[in-house]
């Protein structure tokens, strides 16, 4: 057992030794056993041993599959190598570049057969391999660079003294270009060959680069040794204990550049000349300033570096160059410094308008400020224009606009004057403003404004111009006293008064209307002041505006008064009147209208009100709302006198009203609403209804009377005529004449009945005319013939011209003829002539009936065509008749478009004349 134990111990000892041996190796030692498939093919390897170095890489992999853990072995041919070694027994040694799994490097691997497997020793040779590769790469590269370079490439090594200071360099390497330039210099000292490197500074740089490792690049001028005013581009890089120097000859380029630079200088000079010309001739002010900042970076002042001639004109500053603004004008506004300071700080231009109250007596400039030169120089170029005039104009305009705006809405003249005075005070920056009316010689202060204490209306204890001043004022319309203390035009008294009121300057403008001085506007300043012409004009303008506004207010007041009157009248109207807007809503109405507005709300909103209104057309159909007068008026129609409508009142009784409406248009003739007027015609309607009934009764009466009166008359007449004829036949002439007289009286009765009925018809507009075409002369002849038997001893003569026909009611015209002729017969004495003439002028026919009768008194002439008019003749001769014949005749003629007239002289006779239009002229 001991032997066994000993043998066993020995074996273990050997194994431990072996293990320690392989573990101590820096190389990875691994032993694999092949894994075979059914056909005996090796399909994998399994780790059976790993040394420490290997363990560090792989970890515990014993018993694990190679292909599983390191599949990269297939691609790199390692698996195949292992297989070949196992199968052939031939060992293998390879250098492998293995970049799979956890590896990225170069390895030297030896593989030997070990039973049915392999033992491998792998050494990582990556580092060695890389060094070799880089050496190889850089050698190739350097070679190429050096060979292909047109630059001179030289490598120098420092030569140091005992204390380590570099005292010289020796050539170590140079390329072919270097050889061309230097000849054979390798191993030689630099300072011996090119001492110029000292004074040109090259040597110092070489030392610096060598000592610090900081590369250097320079354009180097070199004019020593074999070099003749040459320019080099020289790059130095530390190389070992020395430098690698690359040098390129850039002499040609450099010379070209210098030429260009020189040319540039010339052009610049020319440009400068031009600039100066411009600078001196430009119309803008120009200056270049240097900003001055305090310790905290605030711009506090600036110094003038350059100014052009216009600068002096526009600023009134002389000899500015070299001096600062604060020195020249200590009160110059801070905003200028701030803006220019910002230009310097931001590097951005500024364009602005601003005021400089202390330059040139107070001016406005439009300014362009541009950063100039290098930022650290703090320079600004400034262009500026004096825009004072424009600015003042703008101010004036703005003031006048403000004035107009303020006055427009005011209606009280005192308010207007007070407001204007206040604005004037602010605008002119004066102490006091007075607006006064001039009535005759009275200076009647309307408004006095004292700065800070508001308005004092209607009182002022201010001196009034007199004597020479007043004369001058009257002459010029304005007056300006720049200094009350010194103005020679002032007498001592007024001077003292001004002084007492602390008035140092006065300006006044008078307002003239129709050659009358009617108002004066005066401003007072506490310090002497040079009044400008513009200010005086503005003062005058203000006075003008005040007056205009006051006048307008007065007119406005008058209009309002008239409007008030109209409104009261409108309210008091006995008819309902209102204004309806385009939507049909009543927006304005008078008292009476409230009767028709149950809710009494305006604008009317009561939809209910519609059912209250009804209107009917002539056929008794209800009219639609779209055809109500208001709606029609809104469409532009004048619905006058309107239509009758029925309105249902609150107590459900009806009111009959007449509604009229007219469109209401604005200035552009657009319809913006309608004016509606409603009058209550209930009463009228009731009366009219009664009247209609009466008229109907009367019509019936006429018709009945015509028939019923005439019928007995007709039979009486017939009987009388038959009796007369019968008596004549029997020879009883005496009785025959009596019966004839009876017959004549029947005719008179007939005529009276007819005239009465005609008059009634005329009154009622019911006389109906049946017009036809006929020849008037024929009618004249017919009617006159019929009357001859009544004319007894009067001679009736007809003188008729034959015109074309007329269109008229033959019966009615016949009636006129009978009327006129029977009148002539009635009023003409026996044995006189009645002349009937007809003449025509182509457009009308004129018929005259002339008698030689008693004539008509002048005072009756204009009345004889009136109804029931009878010429009064005392008691001498009375003539029967109701005075209706001429009235009816006149009506008939007028209805036919003709005229009827009479010329008469008492005792001499009358001429009645009527005209009728001829058919052709109608």
């Amino acid at each position: 057992m001991d032997i066994y134990k000993n043998e066993s111990d020995r074996l273990a000892e050997r194994e431990a030794l072996l293990k320690a041996t392989i573990d101590s190796s820096m190389d990875m030692i691994q032993v694999f056993v092949a894994v075979r498939d059914d056909r005996g093919e090796i399909v994998d390897f399994v780790w059976i041993l790993n040394n420490k170095a290997s363990e560090r890489i792989y970890g515990d992999v014993i018993g694990k599959s190679l292909l599983t853990l390191n599949p990269g072995v297939v691609q790199e041919g390692i698996f195949d190598t292992f297989k070949r070694v196992v199968e052939s027994g031939e060992p293998d040694q390879s250098i492998r570049h293995y970049v799979h799994e956890q590896f990225d490097g170069w390895f030297h691997q030896s593989t030997v057969k070990q039973n049915d497997g392999v033992a491998t020793t792998t050494r990582d040779i990556t580092e060695a391999k890389e060094v070799m590769q880089s050496i190889k790469d850089s050698q190739t590269f350097l070679q190429a660079v050096i060979d292909s370079s047109l630059d001179i490439i030289q490598v120098f090594e420092a030569v140091r003294d005992t204390e380590g200071r570099i005292v010289d360099f020796t050539w170590k390497v140079q390329n072919s270009k270097g050889l061309q330039q230097n000849g054979e210099v390798i191993g030689e000292r630099l300072l011996a060959r090119n001492p110029g490197v000292i004074s040109s500074g090259i040597f110092d740089r070489m030392v610096y680069v060598t000592e610090t490792g900081i590369a250097s690049e320079e354009e180097q001028y070199y004019a020593y040794e074999q070099f003749n005013e040459q320019w080099f581009y020289q790059a130095l890089v530390k190389q070992g204990d020395g430098v690698l120097m690359t040098t390129r000859d850039i002499t040609l380029e450099k010379k070209a550049k210098l030429g260009i630079l020189h040319l540039k200088d010339e052009i610049a000079q020319k440009a400068t000349d031009k600039y100066l010309t411009l600078f001196n001739n430009m119309e803008q002010g120009f200056c270049i300033i240097e900003m001055i900042f305090d310790d905290t970076g605030v711009a506090v002042d600036y110094r003038f570096l350059e100014v052009n001639p216009v600068f002096e004109k526009q600023t009134d500053i002389k000899n500015a160059v070299g001096r600062t603004m604060k020195e020249l004008r200590p009160a110059h506004e801070a905003h200028w410094f701030r803006i220019y300071g910002d230009v310097v700080k931001t590097g951005k231009s500024a364009h602005f308008e601003n005021e400089a109250a202390h330059l040139a007596g107070g001016v406005w400039y439009e300014t362009f400020a541009i950063p100039f030169g290098r930022p650290e120089n703090h320079q600004v170029a400034i262009f500026f224009n004096d825009i004072t005039e424009r600015k003042r104009t703008e101010e004036r305009r703005s003031y006048l606009l403000q004035l107009s705006d303020a006055l427009r809405s005011l209606t009280d003249p005192l308010d207007i004057q007070a407001t204007a005075c206040r604005l004037l005070c602010e605008h002119f920056n004066v102490e006091r403003v007075i607006y006064a009316d001039i009535e005759g010689d009275e200076y009647n202060v309307k408004c006095s404004h004292l700065r800070g204490s508001g308005n004092v209306t209607g009182s002022a204890s201010i001196p009034v111009f007199s004597g020479r001043l007043l004369e001058e004022y009257r002459q010029n319309g304005t007056i300006a006293i720049d200094d009350t203390a010194t103005d020679p035009r002032l007498d001592e008294e007024i001077r003292i008064d001004y002084a007492a009121l602390s008035i140092a300057a006065v300006a006044g403008a008078m307002l003239i209307k129709n050659d009358q001085w009617i108002a004066s506007c005066t401003i007072y300043a506490a310090t002497p002041r040079k009044w400008t012409a513009t200010e005086l004009i503005l003062l005058k303008e203000t006075a003008e505006r005040i007056w205009e506004a006051v006048e307008k207010a007065k007119i406005g007041a008058a209009i309002r008064e008239s409007e008030n009157r109209l409104t009261s009248m409108f309210q008091a109207l006995p008819v309902a009147a209102g204004f309806v807007d385009h939507a049909g809503k009543l927006i304005f109405a008078n008292e009476e209208m409230s009767r028709y507005l149950p809710t009494n709300v305006i604008p009317s909103q009561d939809e209910q009100r519609y059912w209250r209104w009804v209107a009917y057309d002539s056929d008794g159909q209800e009219i639609s709302r779209a055809d109500y007068p208001g709606a029609r008026a809104l469409r532009g129609e004048y619905v006058v006198p309107g239509i009758e409508m029925r309105y249902t009142q609150d107590d459900k009784t009806y009111a009959w009203v007449r509604v009229a409406a007219v469109p209401f248009r604005d200035g552009d003739d657009r319809i913006i609403g309608a004016v509606s007027v409603i009058s209550d015609i209930t009463q009228l309607k009731q009366t009219t209804d009664k009247l209609h009934r009466l008229i109907n009764m009367q019509e019936d009466f006429i018709s009945i009377a015509s028939h019923e009166l005439k019928t007995p008359v007709t039979s009486i007449k017939t009987y009388a005529e038959i009796v007369a004829e019968s008596l004549q036949e029997q020879g009883d002439m005496e009785n025959a004449v009596l019966v004839s007289k009876l017959s004549n009286q029947v005719d008179r009765l007939t005529n009276l009945i007819r005239d009465l009925l005609d008059t009634t018809r005329i009154e009622q507009g019911q006389l109906i005319y049946e017009k036809e075409v006929f020849k008037l002369n024929e009618l004249l002849a017919e009617r006159v013939d019929e009357m001859r038997h009544t004319a007894a001893n009067r001679k009736i003569t007809l003188q008729l011209e034959e015109p074309s026909g007329i269109i008229a009611d033959r019966e009615r015209i016949g009636q006129v003829i009978i009327n006129l002729v029977s009148n002539a017969i009635k009023y003409a004495p026996n044995n006189t002539e009645i002349m009937i003439r007809s003449t025509s002028d182509g457009s009308e026919i004129k018929v005259s009936v002339a008698d030689q009768g008693i004539g008509i008194p002048q005072d009756s002439l204009d009345k004889i065509f009136e109804r029931f008019y009878r010429v009064g003749r005392g008691s001498v001769n009375t003539y029967p008749g109701m005075g209706l014949g001429l009235y009816i005749s006149a009506e008939i003629i007028r209805n036919h478009g003709g005229r009827i007239s009479v010329v008469s002289e008492e005792g001499k006779g009358s001429v009645f004349e009527f005209t009728l239009p001829l058919k052709d002229s109608i």
């Binding site: 005439k710 019928t711 039979s715 007449k717 017939t718 009987y719």
Partner: protein, 116 residues
């Protein structure tokens, strides 16, 4: 002997005209209204003399009826009325002439001599 038919509802007119036609030697048939004319129950005359305003059928209607009948349309019809405004209505109804009441005997004679 000529024959005239008179339609008149006023007894005095009928009577006075009867007297006139008798004296004028003209045969006169008198009706109080138009019933006989419209029923055709009459002997056609040489002239109709019709009052316009009748009780019952209006004179103008009778006129239109006469003028519408082939047998009677050529017989002259004279309308009588107290109102001159009847003249155009009468013409429209086909009447040949109008006598306006009150007429004179001369007027009747004129008409008769013209149409008989």
């Amino acid at each position: 002997m000529k024959h005239v038919i008179l339609v008149e509802d006023d007894p005095a007119i009928r009577d006075s005209l009867s007297l006139f036609f008798e004296r004028s030697n003209i045969e006169l048939t008198v009706y109080h209204n138009g019933d006989s004319i419209l029923s055709g129950d009459y002997t056609p005359p040489d002239l109709f003399l019709l009052d316009k305003q009748l009780s019952g059928v209006d004179g103008l209607d009778i006129c239109r009826y006469i003028k519408s009948q082939e047998a009677t349309k050529n017989i002259p019809v004279i309308m009588m009325s107290a109102s001159p405004s009847v003249i155009p209505l009468a013409a429209a109804s086909g009447a040949d002439d109008v006598l306006v009441k009150p007429y004179a005997l001369a007027d009747i004679r004129n008409v008769m001599s013209r149409y008989l």
